[in-house]
């Protein structure tokens, strides 16, 4: 067996060990260590990606001596490796670029604990991406939930505590529903590993016992939907994303919700089977909720009065896109949804890195009146914010455009008039609404400030500024890559999907 096959296991174990190690280090050392570790993890995931592309196959990795239905397993294919590389890169950029805000927001003596949480989150992210076992998914989902609560409250202001409590209540509800669904699926099929479970599920469908299966799958879907901010459950977003420190906001908005959705993908494809899922009524409901979410999230974003809340609410709309792709139920739809996961991760992280900078040069305020002209005061943040905003709106050459194009093509390919109409209408309405609030904000940050504009309250050292610019530039580069060379990623996703089933 090639050594590269051990890398998925190593990414998980290394992050777990590092999380404990960080509690013993000083804050600065913990940060340096985390950055080195994440670079290493990206290299490992990249090696796995190259290996799977070259060999054209996926592989499973037995965790211990006991093979498939008895012991745990992880699995790596093109799709998993691609997700791991991209999401880890976003994470690294978030940690590097958010450092200057972390210095201001989080108490100095707790920096090592913060990075311990970041590492725990990384381990959970890796485990959720690589897992081939539903229950492993649940365990690491719990780690991710708790770690994200910790990441929110790390900035000790009243609003984050409130946000974390709300976030935790909703997330625990989601976890509970997910666990109930898993228990029911185990009771119905007798397996927790995804491949044997898929076999038992297809037997069940042949016997015609679909109702209990549908309900348990619905519970899993709703549970993960609550956790990732599906249409009716997105009201926890603004405080959670908007009030926490920049790195936490990047992690929560770009990575946590994506990890949950990717787990849902894995369950639908590998534990239930794509054919069974497409035939279930859940698909149509997901399509509807996705379309509604696209509109409702944008409307909430328009109504919000401050920059961070607006950016946070736009996540709800973008998550709606992903669920719409899931609901289309065709291969093109799934490809578009997975592409949107990457595009949104890259774009939203850039937005959340730039908004605190814009607010810092506006007297530490996120209110629209105060940030007027902030793009002139902080030139780098203004440019990066504009790039991300244009991508969100869907201007060609940026990632958002490619994602929308993929969705439109996928909808037309279904050939069902109502679906085409709904998706096209939703895409159009959502794009127009996006223009309304993002372009308005871009104009505002470059408009002439009403008064002279406050001085920057907290000057930052040069070194941190460079880090910030480099990570924002990397995210911009990724955005352009996804936009200009979308077929590379889309082909990889298709290749990954074909080895998924």
């Amino acid at each position: 067996m090639e050594f590269v096959r051990n890398f998925p296991l190593l990414t998980i174990i290394l992050s777990l060990v590092s999380s404990v190690l960080c509690t013993l280090l000083s804050g600065r050392a913990a940060k340096r260590y985390t950055v080195i570790l994440e670079t290493l993890l990206i290299l490992m995931a990249g090696a796995v990606l190259a290996y799977t592309i070259r060999s054209g196959t996926s592989f499973t990795y037995v965790m211990g001596e006991f093979p498939a239905p008895w012991g745990n397993e992880i699995r790596a294919g093109v799709l998993e490796a691609l997700m791991a590389v991209m999401l880890l890169t976003v994470l690294l950029c978030g940690v590097q670029g958010g450092w200057r805000f972390l210095e201001l927001d989080v108490e100095q003596s707790k920096h090592n604990l913060y990075f311990s949480l970041v590492n725990l989150f990384t381990a959970a992210l890796m485990a959720l991406i690589w897992t081939n076992d539903i229950f492993t998914g649940y365990v690491f989902l719990e780690i991710m939930t708790l770690a994200s609560c910790g990441l929110i409250v790390a900035r000790e202001i009243g609003r984050t505590t409130l946000a974390a409590v709300r976030y935790m209540i909703l997330n625990l509800l989601g976890s509970g529903l997910f666990l109930l669904g898993v228990v029911m699926l185990y009771n119905l099929t007798g397996h927790l590993l995804m491949v044997p479970m898929a076999g038992a599920v297809s037997e069940l469908v042949e016997e015609g016992a679909q109702m209990p299966l549908t309900f348990s799958l619905a519970m899993i879907t709703i549970g993960l939907g609550i956790k990732s901010g599906m249409f009716p459950f997105y009201f926890w977003m603004p405080d959670t994303y908007g009030a926490s420190t920049a790195t936490s906001a990047v992690i929560l908005s770009s990575l946590v919700s994506k990890a949950y959705i990717f787990l849902l993908f894995k369950i639908l494809f590998r534990a239930i089977g794509a054919e069974v899922y497409v035939a279930l009524p859940i698909r149509a409901i997901l399509l509807l909720l996705g379309v509604l979410g696209m509109a409702a999230g944008s409307v909430s974003a328009i109504r919000s009065g401050s920059l961070n809340r607006m950016v946070a609410y736009s996540s709800a709309a973008q998550i709606g896109y992903i669920f719409m792709g899931l609901g289309l139920g065709t291969e093109a739809g799934f490809t578009a949804a997975l592409f949107q996961i990457l595009a949104h991760a890259v774009t939203k992280s850039l937005l959340f890195l730039t908004t605190p900078r814009l607010s810092l040069v506006s007297g530490d305020s996120m209110l629209f009146q105060r940030i007027q002209g902030s793009g002139r005061r902080a030139k780098d943040a203004g440019v990066f914010f504009t790039v991300a905003a244009l991508s969100m709106v869907g201007i060609p050459v940026f990632a958002g455009f490619s994602a929308k194009l993929l969705f439109a093509v996928a909808a037309v390919e279904t050939g069902r008039p109502w679906v085409i109409l709904a998706v096209m209408a939703a895409l159009g309405v959502s794009s127009v609404l996006n223009v309304l609030y993002f372009i308005r904000t871009v104009i505002r940050i470059y408009a002439k400030p009403q008064d002279a504009g406050p001085e920057e309250p907290y000057p930052v050292p040069k070194e941190l500024r460079r880090q910030y610019r480099v990570s924002a530039a990397v995210l911009t580069g990724l955005n352009l890559f996804l936009g200009l060379f979308s077929w590379v990623t889309a082909n990889l996703i298709r290749q990954g999907l074909s080895m998924f089933g």
Partner: protein, 314 residues
């Protein structure tokens, strides 16, 4: 009214902004503070904001919220009842779910060396899940530390009062003669019981999680009976961190080694021993000890953080 409720729901509206801070009255005795707090609460209840919120909530709850909540709960209840009808009855064998469980029961002893099938299952067959599970507790501990840790390293001027108030507010448990005497008698016994449950996990009911919980309880009882300073002498903050570090690292690395050898088809050279002997079942016993130490430390850590904002003194 509806808009106000909406903006409160979304977190825009801070309803507590009009309520003043009671910081200036901290330097007082317990009884006096209690009275002041009582007064404060009734004053807050009389504030127009509070009244408005109360009225708002009453209205919102009276109309749609209640109906919706009941409807959702009834729908969920229906789903659950329907599902229960499809679950295997208690005590009956599930014809579908028997393949994996049968193998665990039939070959568990020879394959894992543990007489306790549950220990064999969670620490050998599905050890990866348990690896995650032990880190769930660690994550919770880190979160509580982020939220509550107040020690000499992050001392701010306004924290000085904070420590004094804590001392005055909390009942000094170590001065209670009954608790002290009972704790002295029970504490060591509970610790012994914890060790027994911890070490016998592969032989009978017990194991790392339950044993660790008992150990943690014993430490909490000792700390409240003998005073925090007494326990500090054994379990300093530094030692606490090192115990967690060593136990969790050992767990991750040992299991990583087993996963690595298992997946690569190598021999792992871990003796299974004779089933039933205390030194048997391969890695299960050391893993149980590691898990137990982590769980015990975490339980005591929670108590200590909630009670005085630090682990092992300032």
């Amino acid at each position: 009214m509806k808009r106000t409720f909406q903006s409160w729901l979304e977190g825009d509206l801070d309803l507590l902004s009009e309520i003043p801070d009671a910081a200036e009255v901290r330097n007082l005795s317990r009884r006096k503070l209690k009275d002041i707090h009582k007064e404060e609460r009734s004053r807050i209840r009389a504030l127009p904001v509070t009244r408005r919120v109360a009225r708002l909530e009453r209205r919102a709850f009276r109309s749609w919220y209640r109906i919706l909540a009941v409807g959702c709960c009834m729908a969920l209840l229906g789903v659950f009842l329907f599902m229960t009808a499809h679950v295997t009855r208690y005590g009956e064998e599930n014809p579908r779910a028997s393949e994996v469980a049968d193998r665990y029961l039939a070959h568990g002893v020879e394959e894992t060396g543990a007489i306790n099938a549950v220990a064999g299952m969670i620490l050998d067959y599905r050890a990866f899940d348990t690896l995650g599970e032990s880190h769930v507790l660690f994550t919770a501990l880190i979160c509580v530390m982020v939220l509550l840790q107040r020690d000499s390293k992050n001392m701010r001027p306004d924290y000085e009062d904070y420590f004094r108030i804590r001392q005055e507010w909390y009942y000094p448990t170590e001065q209670d003669p009954i608790l002290r005497r009972v704790g002295m008698v029970l504490g060591p016994g509970i610790l012994m019981l914890g060790c027994y449950i911890l070490l016998g996990g592969h032989l009978g009911p017990g194991g790392g999680f339950s044993g660790g919980a008992v150990l943690g309880t014993g430490l909490v009882i000792l700390a409240s009976a003998l005073g925090d300073e007494t326990v500090d002498r054994i379990l300093t903050g530094k030692r606490f961190r090192w115990i967690s570090f060593v136990a969790l690292c050992f767990y991750s690395l040992a299991k990583g080694y087993v996963f690595f050898t298992g997946a690569n088809g190598l021999e792992n050279h871990i003796p299974k021993g004779t089933p039933g002997a205390i030194l048997s079942a391969g890695l299960i016993l050391p893993l149980d000890i590691a898990v137990g130490l982590v769980v015990g430390c975490t339980m005591f850590g929670f108590y200590s953080l909630f009670r005085r904002g630090s682990i092992g003194g300032q």
